[in-house]
């Protein structure tokens, strides 16, 4: 088993059955895992902010930073490895927020809304989600079988 770490504003894809893609402490960021069970190809994105229009230069250099540039790149990167859109399973986790976070800097909520919009516009159904709350999540995707795990606040991985 090879564990491949996905950093903040980063994405990794793989078609090797021995790989586990993992990303730590999502906070308000959102982790998006996609997997084609026929081709056994998958990818994991850890995006940070909803909208690339705040810094388009940065978005060109590092598309994985934003939902609107990161999610399309995640899919395209999987297609390159042979994945097919209509077969792909999509799971998302993260989008946590500070307590009483009404009215200001709702980055977690905005990240979730941004992701939902993109999937909706592209006719993609979200097959599993673990969102909101006030805690960090670590997630991993097993490329051999597409199982997606979320670490809860008791520090245990549970399959989503």
């Amino acid at each position: 088993m090879k564990q491949i770490v996905v950093g903040i504003s980063d994405l990794k894809v793989s078609g090797n059955a021995g790989d586990i893609l993992i990303t730590y402490a999502l906070g308000s960021c959102v982790g998006v895992a996609v997997y084609d069970p026929v081709d056994r190809v998958g990818g994991l994105l850890h995006f940070m902010l909803p909208d690339s229009s705040i810094d388009e230069t940065k978005a060109r250099r590092n598309p994985a930073m934003f939902a609107d540039t990161g999610i399309p790149l995640l899919f395209k990167s999987c297609y390159k490895l042979g994945a097919v859109k209509k077969r792909m399973i999509v799971k998302i986790a993260g989008g946590a927020s500070i307590m009483d976070d009404m009215n200001y800097f709702r980055i977690g909520q905005k990240n979730i809304i941004a992701a939902r919009k993109i999937f909706w516009r592209n006719g993609i159904i979200i097959d599993g989600e673990d969102l909101h709350g006030n805690y960090n999540r670590t997630v991993k995707l097993n490329i051999s079988n597409g199982k997606f795990y979320v670490k809860n606040f008791a520090n245990l991985f549970e399959e989503l």
């Binding site: 960021c29 909208d51 810094d55 940065k58 500070i98 200001y104």
Partner: protein, 284 residues
């Protein structure tokens, strides 16, 4: 209030390196001499080694390759030297922290993140680069270094209050242990003879709204920088984002969502450039 066991743990902390305070004193004189500064720093081997490790870090953006303490003092400038010396002297306390983190170096990563973010926000909001923000950022969670042991022992009880009863992590610490990491951190800073502004920034970093009227810009900036790092999961711990958000911060700084998000983009860039700072704790 702080109980005997806690007091004992606080007293067992190594003293804060006097070298750092002396550097800060000397450098506050606009006519400080390079030799004086070098002579203070060089007697602390650990700080000297850390200064040299850090001074070529892209974060400080020197155009020269620096290989000696003297060159560092000449080329880095007052703000950078202060930041470097504080970082060099502080990392030793973050080697091992129990209770809050699953990974040993996470609190250091978080502290550096908050220090960098407080600089970004201070520049954006006050158009200034004051090393006071940086220092307070590095030290804001110093209370966790001591309280971690106690959080570890009472972890189930604390998490019960947080996950089931709507407590913030800070409130749960207070309820179960009788103090919280911010208050305790302020006490530690006081023992270490830090100036009032640094102590206040540490004590009030989760609740700057509770401060008496007066000079409260550092606590509010640290509060906001801390929240940004928690949201981004930078050095994320078990307490995660379980802290209260204070709406006042928006009016206080007149900060737009867009500006906050742009600052986060800058933070990620700075963290990338500041790898040498993050690695310090591994060399301790």
């Amino acid at each position: 209030m702080i109980n005997d066991q806690l007091l004992k743990s606080v007293n067992n902390l190594p003293v804060f390196p006097a070298t750092v305070h002396r550097v800060s004193q000397v450098i506050s004189d606009p006519d400080f001499s390079v030799d004086d500064l070098v002579n203070i720093i060089k007697y602390d081997q650990s700080i000297t080694a850390n200064v040299l490790r850090m001074c070529n870090s892209p974060y400080f953006g020197t155009r020269y390759k620096i290989s000696s303490l003297r060159e560092a003092v000449i080329y880095l400038g007052r703000t950078n030297i202060l930041q470097i010396v504080y970082t060099a002297g502080t990392s030793r306390f973050y080697k091992r922290v129990r209770g809050y983190y699953w990974g040993a170096t996470k609190l250091w990563e978080h502290s550096v993140g908050v220090a960098l973010m407080s600089q970004i926000l201070a520049k954006k909001i006050y158009s200034c680069e004051d090393s006071g923000f940086f220092t307070a950022g590095l030290l804001h969670d110093i209370g966790k270094v001591v309280l971690g042991e106690f959080v570890y022992e009472s972890f189930q009880e604390i998490m019960h209050l947080v996950s089931r009863r709507g407590y913030s992590f800070l409130e749960a610490e207070q309820e179960i242990i009788g103090t919280n990491h911010a208050e305790l951190g302020g006490e530690i800073a006081s023992l270490w003879s830090f100036p009032k502004e640094t102590r206040d920034a540490i004590t009030y970093h989760h609740r700057p709204d509770l401060m008496e009227k007066g000079e409260d810009s550092i606590p509010w900036i640290i509060y906001l920088a801390d929240q940004a790092c928690m949201m981004m999961g930078i050095g994320g711990g078990v307490d995660s984002l379980a802290y209260r958000g204070l709406k006042e911060v928006v009016n206080k700084f007149n900060l737009r969502q867009r500006d906050f998000e742009k600052s986060i983009v800058l933070l990620l860039k700075d963290l990338d450039k500041a790898k040498e700072l993050l690695d310090l704790v591994k060399n301790e």
